[in-house]
C-alpha cells in the first residue's frame, strides 16, 4: 500500500506535468529552428528552449541561475528576436483533411472535452484521497492535455507530428506574452520585499477623513481596488490594506463585524483585478489565446461591470455596518 501511494504521488505530481510541458516546449523550439521560412527562427527557438529547460529542471536549478535564464528570455523578447504570428496564420487544410472533417462530425469534440473532464476527474480523485484538490486540477490539466492529444491523433488517424505542428501554430500566435503571469508574480515578490505596500497604506491613511464612516468605507474599497490594480492580484493586496486601513480605521473604531468587512474588502479587490493588465493571466493571456486584435479588449469589456459592482460593494458594506 505504501509503495502504491509512493508511485501514485510520483506519477501524479506537479513535477511530472512540468517535465511533460517542458518536453512539449522543446518540440516547439525544434520546429521553430527547422522552419526555413521563419525570419527569427534562432531567437524563437532559443526562447522556447530556455522556457522548456526551466519547466523541466526548475525544481533543481539554483534560483539565481533560473533568474539569469529568465533575464536572457526577456532580453531576447525585448530585442524583438522572438517570433510572433498574428491571427492570419490559420491552419492550412488539404482536401483530405476536409473530407475527414465531414466524416468525424461531433466526434471532434471528444478530445477537447477530455481536457476539462480529466482536469475535473483528477480534482475529485485527489479530494477523495484527502489530497489537495487544486493540485489535482493542475495535474489533471497537464495529463488531460496529453490524453486529449493521444485521443485526437487516434480519432483523426493523424500523427503526433501533425498535433505538435498545430500546437506550435497556437503557441507562436501567442508569443512571449505567455510568460507574463510568471514575471508579474516575481514583480509582486520584489514589491513586497521593497515594502511598497506599506507606502500605499500610509498614503491612504494620510488622505482619509477620520470619523465619516461612508467615506472611510469608500476609501477602503478604493484603496483595495487601486492597490490590486498595481499588484495585479487581490490576494497580494489584501494583507496590506487589511493591516493598514481596514482594521485600524474601520473595524476597531466602529466595532464592525470583522468577517463581513474583510470578505467584502477582498472582492472589492477583485474589481481591480478586472481592470488591470497586471492580472495578465486573467486579462492579457486570454486575448492571446483568442487571438484578439486589442491586447486590452477583455479589460475594456469588463470596466462597466467592475465599476457597477464596485459601487455596490461600498453601499453593501456601509449598509451592513449600519444594520448589524
Amino acid at each position: 500500500m505504501n509503495t502504491l501511494s509512493t508511485v501514485f504521488n510520483a506519477v501524479f505530481s506537479l513535477d511530472t506535468v512540468y517535465v511533460l510541458t517542458g518536453l512539449v516546449l522543446w518540440v516547439f523550439a525544434w520546429l521553430n529552428l527547422r522552419d526555413r521560412h521563419h525570419s527569427r527562427r534562432r531567437g524563437s527557438a532559443l526562447f522556447w528552449f530556455i522556457l522548456g529547460l526551466i519547466f523541466i529542471t526548475g525544481s533543481l536549478l539554483p534560483h539565481w541561475l533560473t533568474g539569469a535564464l529568465v533575464l536572457l528570455m526577456v532580453v531576447l523578447d525585448g530585442a524583438g528576436r522572438v517570433g510572433h504570428r498574428g491571427a492570419s496564420d490559420e491552419t492550412t487544410k488539404t482536401g483530405q483533411v476536409e473530407q475527414k472533417e465531414r466524416t468525424l462530425g461531433n466526434r471532434i469534440f471528444l478530445p477537447v472535452l477530455l481536457i476539462p473532464a480529466v482536469t475535473f476527474a483528477l480534482a475529485l480523485v485527489f479530494r477523495a484521497l484527502g489530497a489537495d484538490a487544486n493540485r489535482g486540477a493542475l495535474v489533471g490539466l497537464g495529463l488531460g492535455g496529453v490524453v486529449a492529444m493521444l485521443a485526437g491523433v487516434a480519432l483523426t488517424k493523424g500523427s503526433a507530428g501533425e498535433a505538435f505542428r498545430e500546437g506550435r501554430r497556437l503557441n507562436d500566435s501567442m508569443g512571449a506574452v505567455i510568460i507574463l503571469p510568471q514575471l508579474l508574480a516575481s514583480l509582486g515578490i520584489i514589491f513586497t520585499a521593497s515594502r511598497v505596500g506599506d507606502l500605499v497604506a500610509a498614503g491612504i491613511q494620510g488622505i482619509i477623513p477620520e470619523g465619516n464612516l461612508f467615506l472611510l468605507v469608500a476609501a477602503n474599497c478604493l484603496g483595495m481596488s487601486l492597490f490590486t490594480m498595481v499588484m495585479g492580484n487581490s490576494f497580494a493586496a489584501f494583507p496590506v490594506i487589511a493591516a493598514g486601513v481596514l482594521v485600524p480605521l474601520i473595524i476597531r473604531p466602529f466595532g464592525v463585524d470583522p468577517a463581513m468587512a474583510a470578505i467584502i474588502t477582498l472582492t472589492a479587490g477583485s474589481t481591480g483585478t478586472l481592470m488591470t493588465p497586471m492580472a495578465a493571466n486573467f486579462n492579457i493571456v486570454p486575448t492571446a489565446l483568442l487571438n484578439m486584435r486589442d491586447q486590452y479588449g477583455v479589460i475594456k469589456f469588463q470596466i462597466p461591470f467592475a465599476l457597477a459592482i464596485w459601487a455596490l460593494h461600498v453601499l453593501t458594506m456601509w449598509a451592513l455596518i449600519r444594520l448589524l
Binding site: W64, L138, A163, A185, S186, I309
Partner: protein, 256 residues
C-alpha cells in the same frame, strides 16, 4: 514621508508608462521589478555559493533580486501549464472543431451568445462553490465556449462562415467569453470555505487578532455573488441586443 521612500514608486510609474506606450510587457515588468528592488536597497544576488560576500552585488542575509525572479518564476510555472494542451486543441481545430461547434449551436435556435455566457458563468460559480479550481481560459473558454459562442453568432446572423461576421462583433464576443470566465471565477470561488480566497482572509484576520469563522465569510460573500450574476446577465443581454441589431442589418444586406 521621506522622499527616498517615494522613489520606490518608480516601479509603478515604469509599469504604467511602459504599458501605456505599448512597449514589450515582459521587458517593462522586469525593468520595473529590478529598478524598484535597487531603489529599495535590495542586493542583485543572494550572498551564497561562489558570489558569497561579493561587495555591491550581495548583502548578507538578504535575498537577491535575480534570486527572487528565479524563485517566483519557478514557483509559478503552474500559470503557464496550459501550453501542454495546445497540441490537442490545435489538432481538433485542424479537423473542424470551430465549424462543428457552429453547426451544433445552429440547431439550438434559442442559443444566443449572451444566454450561453450566462449559463457558462453559472457553471463556473457552481464549480467555485464546490471548491474546484479549473483554469477556465485554457481548459474551457478557448476550446469550447469560444467556438460555441461564434456558432451562436453565426446562427443569429444567418451566415455559415466566421469570415462573414463583422470583425468588431467577433472581437466583442471574444472579450465577453473571457469576461464570463473571470466573473464566474473571481466571485464564485469565495463560496467555498476551502478555496484560497477565504483561507487568505481567515489567515490574515487571525494574524491581526480577529478569529473569524470561515462560514461567516462565505455568508457575507453571497450578496456579492448575486450582484455579479445580475450585472453580468444585464451586460450579456445588452450585448445580445446590440448584436441582434447589427446582424439584422447584415441579413437584410445579404437579402438584397
Amino acid at each position: 514621508m521621506e522622499l527616498t521612500e517615494l522613489f520606490k514608486l518608480a516601479g509603478i510609474v515604469i509599469v504604467v508608462a511602459g504599458l501605456a506606450l505599448r512597449l514589450r510587457p515582459t521587458l517593462v515588468v522586469v525593468t520595473a521589478g529590478v529598478v524598484t528592488g535597487l531603489i529599495a536597497g535590495l542586493p542583485l544576488l543572494s550572498s551564497e555559493g561562489v558570489v558569497s560576500g561579493l561587495p555591491y552585488l550581495t548583502r548578507e542575509g538578504q535575498e537577491g533580486i535575480v534570486n527572487m525572479l528565479g524563485r517566483a518564476f519557478t514557483e509559478n510555472r503552474l500559470m503557464t501549464l496550459f501550453i501542454i494542451t495546445l497540441p490537442a486543441v490545435g489538432l481538433a481545430e485542424r479537423y473542424g472543431l470551430q465549424e462543428q461547434s457552429a453547426r451544433l449551436i445552429r440547431r439550438i435556435s434559442a442559443a444566443t451568445v449572451g444566454r450561453l455566457l450566462v449559463v457558462y458563468q453559472l457553471f463556473r460559480v457552481t464549480m467555485g462553490a464546490l471548491g474546484i479550481r479549473l483554469l477556465g481560459h485554457p481548459a474551457f473558454v478557448r476550446p469550447l465556449v469560444f467556438p460555441m459562442s461564434l456558432g451562436a453568432a453565426e446562427a443569429e446572423a444567418g451566415v455559415t462562415d466566421v469570415e462573414k461576421l463583422p470583425v468588431r462583433e467577433v472581437e466583442r464576443i471574444k472579450a465577453a467569453d473571457a469576461a464570463s470566465e473571470n466573473y464566474g471565477n473571481f466571485y464564485g470561488q469565495n463560496l467555498s470555505p476551502v478555496q484560497a480566497g477565504i483561507l487568505l482572509v481567515y489567515g490574515t484576520m487571525k494574524g491581526l487578532g480577529y478569529e473569524v469563522s470561515v462560514w461567516r465569510l462565505v455568508l457575507f460573500t453571497v450578496p456579492i455573488v448575486v450582484y455579479s450574476i445580475v450585472i453580468a446577465a444585464l451586460q450579456f443581454h445588452l450585448l445580445d441586443r446590440a448584436q441582434r441589431r447589427t446582424f439584422g442589418e447584415l441579413r437584410e444586406g445579404a437579402g438584397e
